[in-house]
Amino acid sequence: MNSICEKIKDQIADLVTGILSEAQMQKLEQHLNECAACRDYARALKDEDMLLTEFFAKIDTNITHQQERVLQAINHSGVSKQSETHLIWRTIMKSPITKLAAAAVIIIAVVLSINVWDKSIPTAYALEQTIEANHSVRYIHIKGFDPSHKEPKEYWVECDESGKLKSARWHMPSWDAPEDGAKVVVWKENKIQLWFKGTTKKRGCLVTYKKEKGADWLYNRAQEYNPKLAVERLYEQQAQGKVKIQVDQPADKAKPIVVTATYLPESPKSGEREVLFVDRGTRLVTATKFYRLKDGKYKYQCTYEYYDYNQPIKPEMFDLDKEVPADVRRIDEDQQKIELNKGISPDELEKYENMTPKEMTIVFFQACADEDWNELLKFMSDSEIRQETKDYYGGLEIISIGEPFNTDEYHGWFVPYEVRLKSGSIKKWRLAVSNRNLVQRYICDGGF
């Protein structure tokens, strides 16, 4: 190999990388035909290229799993929880119960205010009729129209004889949350079922929320808007001067009574206006239009229309188990909780629940040291320990476990550790642990 060959080496490396020009390639090929040493070098680099390609492709097979772990960690992070709660809250806030209750509040407000603003309307009659009408409602079907979309949101609500919420169903078109796609929510017997119908990128799934987490919370929220309680709140609002009500009763008796409720600056809903259309015969609300103040004018936002008052809704409407196709993935949070507590007997559970972040970390690494993978799994949200993890951490030696610390960026704790791996190298890092999970005890929050 001469000095020319030294320069050729660069080109050989470039040839493998595929960045040589046509002319350079021809020149190189000519040299390779003449120089055995450079041919060997080129062959070696080509072989190494294959090795490198295979080596990195092997690592690449684990990337999807790693991405899932990242998403899992995000799911366990404070912000995501907030986001998840926000999703449920958003769903609820768009619920018919809220709207129905809001309508009830307004109706009553209207009826009471009639005394003040419109002496021509038989006020006592209107008040009693409307309140009574709302209390007698057991079934209602609601459609929510947004001006930018054709497909409405739809809601079905069933109350029991005492007017207590019994079951509810929401249909959310995909435009409501494109990232989720279309979804159906059913609330019945203290549990929520959420059916994500999926998108072109995401598979659909049916999520059942555990009782104490979602359903009770939702129920309490719904109760908050119970018309009976709403009357009391209305009196309060009137006394506090938070809403201005105007009633228009057209001379044409075929037209509905129009009730305009404008929220005053003292109200948290300041800047909003709701216009209700009340049926003269039944005194029930047939539609509500929502407006928001912008640039000095009330701009139209959306309309809710109310149908089928007291038309019984089929029980099947409130049962997603039968309706959702069998091949749709089902996620039961109660089951997930059991999965997370896998291998822990009821007697032992208290011990694990009482562990501090530091104690958990010690037990965690001791499990690695002892290669007790069943024990380790108790602190992982994975269904199994990967072989490469076992190879890497198995048989390690704990050098030290430091004092846990936390930062503004992460809701859990970081526990510093220093271990000597079986390979002889020392790893000094921190374990992220969190109890913000279904089982509410400290477990490893992602990678370690």
Binding site: D10, L45, L51, I59, Q66, I74, G424, W429, G447
Partner: protein
């Protein structure tokens, strides 16, 4: 780069849209991991730090003003975390094969290759790793590392040559 694609997704994330961040994870995790692997030279450490970088990105995304520059931003976070990690580890920049090998330990082809890659200087190991792990495209590597295209090609070339020397040196010693 997916700048224009990222822009709207980042905005959605800034509105606490968790599902939108999943899109960014799917789109960029590979690049982040490749960078971490290049800097740290260790699969497990790279996974830890890449995961931490993506999580940190999620928590800090509201602070990202230039929504179209998510990729450069998340790679910067990853790079800083890698250096932070290395500082904490108090390791030497390059671990020699002797340190990592235990007597009698079985040496597979992959293991030898991995050790050789680790022995490369970081400025060569990063582009080489990104090149092989991330689509074999020197131009995108140049963009991600904020260097010129020819600079990226030169580093990949130097890395290949040095890697060959390390591999043959080992063969000759055995």
């Amino acid at each position: 780069m997916n700048e224009s694609l990222d822009e709207s997704v980042v905005r959605a994330c800034q509105q606490d849209d968790k599902a939108a961040y999943a899109v960014l994870v799917k789109r960029h995790y590979r690049h982040v991991f490749a960078l971490c692997l290049g800097v740290l030279g260790n699969l497990h450490d790279a996974e830890d730090v890449a995961q931490e970088a993506m999580l940190k990105g999620f928590l800090k995304i509201k602070k990202l003003d230039k929504t179209e520059q998510f990729e450069a931003w998340i790679l910067r976070i990853a790079r800083n975390l890698c250096f932070d990690f290395l500082r904490r580890q108090k390791r030497k920049k390059v671990l020699s094969a002797k340190q990592l090998m235990r007597p009698g330990q079985k040496t597979s082809e992959n293991h030898v290759l991995q050790q050789a890659i680790r022995r490369l200087p970081q400025e060569l190991r990063v582009p080489l790793t990104m090149y092989y792990f991330d689509g074999k495209n020197a131009k995108t590597i140049a963009e991600k590392l904020n260097i010129s295209h020819s600079g990226a090609c030169q580093r990949i070339r130097a890395a290949r040559k040095q890697l060959h020397e390390l591999l043959t040196e080992r063969e000759n010693n055995e």
